[in-house]
């Protein structure tokens, strides 16, 4: 839609004239959402790689591949949204460090490298064996990835493990930084009442982890059904407890945040109330409704030591619920914040376009890409321990 503005946002009360052109579209809803999925998936892999929780071994390598597949697409919505995407590298050339956004390329770049390295170390033995068995273009790719070394001796693998461990340790603060930074991006703006909160980075980070675990559960269950492989109850139970713990804190902090806002009742609180009752009421309903339902489901699964079919169904539903709930939360923050006028005397109403480079179809397309990439990546580097081993031995 270059050259014209699609539609001025209708409004009630008084808003500054320039606000009727809403700056950040639905693309900026999907950006922190995808980042959050990455952070969540990575945390699960770290629970095995760093904290040594054996029950997560089944999904640890898959979680890494999930994280990297989604990480590739974190910058895409941002590039789609820029007025001059061809100049995006200006932020890399001359990063203005007082801006949270200037750190994006460095933080994201650093994190992608870290993920790639960790994957390389985690899969090196597999790569070496695949390089020996596969021919053609694929075999050549594997051989390049070995960097010309087929050293898989115990000593070499031990060194690899040390590196992988170090990278995973660095990765936890990096993942936290990557997503806490997104929260800072919003929370540090004093111009917007709905964003300007010290709790924003924490809320973003914790809800990210919850949504990321949700995604992992959904993918794990779907993949296992697809491969006709048995699901690991211990792993799922572990995921349920982790998700439950993070979700508890998220609900608590988000609830306290709202409570504080209304308890303090600073100037303009009427508009905040009208925002919640008006433009974002469906978003709030989804966010809180789904979060509480998932919380109840997880509590039930944990209390009853559920296993087998009940556990799988419950976890799958919880995963979907949490992914949608956190998506709604991202909408409520990003769009809701802009629907509440800086005048605090009015509200705007944002209607996303369907077509166009900032439309819902573009967002859907961007969000489907990581799933496709993940599928290709898992074909290239099969992450499932047992099956991979079977293939190698046969």
């Amino acid at each position: 839609m270059i050259g014209t503005m699609a539609q001025a946002a209708p409004y009630v009360g008084y808003v500054y004239p320039n606000e009727t052109d809403i700056p950040w579209s639905v693309l900026i809803v999907i950006y922190p959402y995808i980042t959050g999925l990455v952070a969540g998936a990575f945390i699960v892999s770290s629970l095995y790689h760093v904290f040594g929780m054996e029950r997560f071994k089944t999904v640890a390598r898959f979680a890494l591949l999930t994280a990297v597949s989604f990480m590739f697409f974190v910058p895409v919505p941002l590039l789609f949204h820029l007025g001059n995407p061809q100049r995006a590298f200006n932020a890399v050339l001359t990063p203005h460090w007082t801006s949270a956004m200037s750190a994006f390329s460095y933080v994201a770049g650093f994190y992608i490298c870290l993920l790639l390295l960790e994957i390389w170390f985690a899969f090196r033995a597999d790569i070496v064996s695949l390089a020996k068995t596969k021919g053609g273009l694929l075999g050549r790719a594997y051989r390049i990835l070995t960097l010309g070394s087929d050293d898989v001796s115990g000593k070499a693998l031990a060194i690899d493990h040390k590196f992988a461990f170090a990278l995973a340790v660095i990765g936890i603060p990096a993942a936290g930084g990557l997503h806490g930074y997104v929260g800072f991006l919003f929370g540090s703006l004093k111009s917007r009442e709905w964003w300007s909160s010290d709790l924003m980075p924490i809320i973003f980070l914790l809800s990210a982890v919850v949504s990321g675990i949700g995604l992992l559960v959904v993918l794990y269950v779907a993949y296992s059904k697809f491969r006709k492989a048995a699901l690991d109850d211990a792993c799922l139970q572990g995921l349920a407890k982790t998700m439950w713990a993070f979700l508890t804190v998220v609900l608590l902090i988000e609830g306290l945040e709202l409570l504080e806002m209304f308890y303090k009742s600073l100037e303009g609180i009427e508009m905040v109330q009208r925002l919640i009752e008006g433009p974002i009421r469906y978003g709030m309903f989804l966010q809180w409704g789904l979060s509480l339902m998932v919380f109840a489901t997880l509590s039930y699964l944990i209390l009853t030591h559920a296993s087998g079919r009940a556990l799988v169904t419950g976890m799958f539903a919880s995963g979907i619920g949490m992914m949608l709930g956190v998506l709604a939360m991202r909408w409520n923050v990003v769009i809701g914040g802009q629907e509440l006028s800086k005048t605090m005397k009015g509200l705007l109403i944002y209607y996303p376009e369907i077509l166009g480079h900032e439309g819902l179809l573009a967002v859907l397309f961007i969000f489907l890409c990581p799933f496709i990439v993940l599928w290709l990546v898992t074909r290239f580097l099969p992450p499932w321990e047992s099956k991979a081993r079977k293939e190698v031995s046969s």
């Binding site: 001359t94 010309g148 070499a156």
Partner: protein
């Protein structure tokens, strides 16, 4: 250290060097000169060409208009009033040069050159006419809650109906002067007296009409009389009798006639006192132009005091039904009932004319 680790480190180091060299190479040379920005951009931004150039720029060619404006209430900076040329005429830009004036519609719109669009022709110098309809004036002078009381404001409907502001006001010097406007006829009254022989049949000797349906001319403003004769001659004011009479007059004749009639003194005529009293009450809106007692402060507008009652009534009705057309009077007359017209006519007929 195993071979693959060493190779990995070499790769990482190479990438770092390439990345950093690229950063040095692609960063603008003037970046960081003054701070965290492209130093050259300051002079680039400062180098834009101003489009508004101030009234003194206009003065060099439009000296006459400038002089009128400079001495008017639209130019009283000491009182905080400073309506410069470009406030109404829009930005000068590169006027009068066509060269460099953007040619596409969008470009001109982008320059806000809406004033230029109407009269600009290819190859001709650009023109900057202000809008002559009301929109330009009412932007500042429409009575509106929120405007400071010091700002002159008018209730549009009550002030002059749909008449354009410029039919009474000169936008360059909008204040209508009620004093000091010279009404010294240029013509020769003696020569006019000779010519006036042709008029006496209807308007009476000395301009005192023989029949109340025809107007008295004695003591009327010279400027008004000249304007009226010219309007008859050009057909702007269609009248079978007067059109024929005026056709034979040149400008000097008209001035002489006007000098003669305006120099005569008028006589008051009596009228029904009750009707006159009612008419007086209704006369407030007339007073703006014709004066509170029907003696017009502006020589362009006729005196009404002492005019024939029948003529006044017939004229107002003629404005009302469209027989006569005038930007102000037509709309004013439409607001009057026939009774009101009769009362007004009685009031002005009985008013003291000198």
């Amino acid at each position: 250290m195993p071979k693959h680790i060493m190779r990995l480190m070499v790769l990482v180091a190479a990438a770092a060097i390439v990345g950093f060299s690229a950063k040095i190479y692609f960063t603008d040379k003037s970046y960081y000169r003054y701070g965290h920005y492209r130093g050259d951009s300051v002079a680039e931004i400062a180098g834009d060409t101003p489009r508004f150039r101030g009234s003194t720029y206009c003065k060099s060619c439009h000296e006459k208009q400038y002089a009128v404006w400079a001495d008017s209430p639209h130019n009283k900076p000491a009182e905080g009033r400073h309506v410069q040329c470009e406030v109404c005429h829009g930005p000068v830009g590169l006027h009068p040069n066509r060269e460099g004036v953007p040619s596409s519609f969008d470009e001109r719109l982008a320059l806000g050159a809406k004033h230029v669009l109407s009269s600009e022709q290819n190859g001709a110098p650009t023109k900057l006419p202000a809008r002559k309809d009301k929109t330009e004036c009412i932007q500042c002078h429409e009575a509106m809650p929120g405007r400071p009381t010091a700002q002159r404001q008018v209730e549009l409907a009550a002030h002059a109906g749909t008449a354009p502001c410029v039919s009474c006001h000169d936008p360059h010097a909008p204040k209508i002067s009620y004093s000091g406007m010279p009404d010294k006829p240029k013509g020769n009254a003696a020569a006019g007296k000779v010519l006036s022989a042709n008029c006496t049949a209807c308007h009476g000797p000395g301009g005192e009409s023989t029949n109340p349906v025809w107007p008295n001319l004695a003591g009327q403003h010279a400027t008004y009389l000249i304007n009226a004769l010219q309007a008859f001659k050009s057909g702007a004011r269609p009248n079978e009798m007067m059109g024929g009479m005026a056709a034979g007059l040149n400008d000097a004749d008209m001035e002489n006639l006007a000098a003669y009639f305006s120099g005569r003194s008028c006589k008051g005529i009596g009228a029904d006192k009750a009707k006159a009293a009612l008419g007086k009450k209704r006369s407030a809106s007339c007073a703006l132009c014709h004066g509170p007692t029907g003696v017009s402060p502006n020589p362009s507008w006729p005196d009404l005091a002492g005019q024939n009652e029948a003529y006044l009534g017939a004229t107002l009705k003629s404005f009302k039904d469209g027989g006569r057309v005038h930007p102000v009077m037509s709309s004013v007359a439409k607001t009057l009932s026939d009774t009101a017209i009769d009362n007004l006519a009685a009031f002005y007929a009985s008013a003291n004319c000198k």
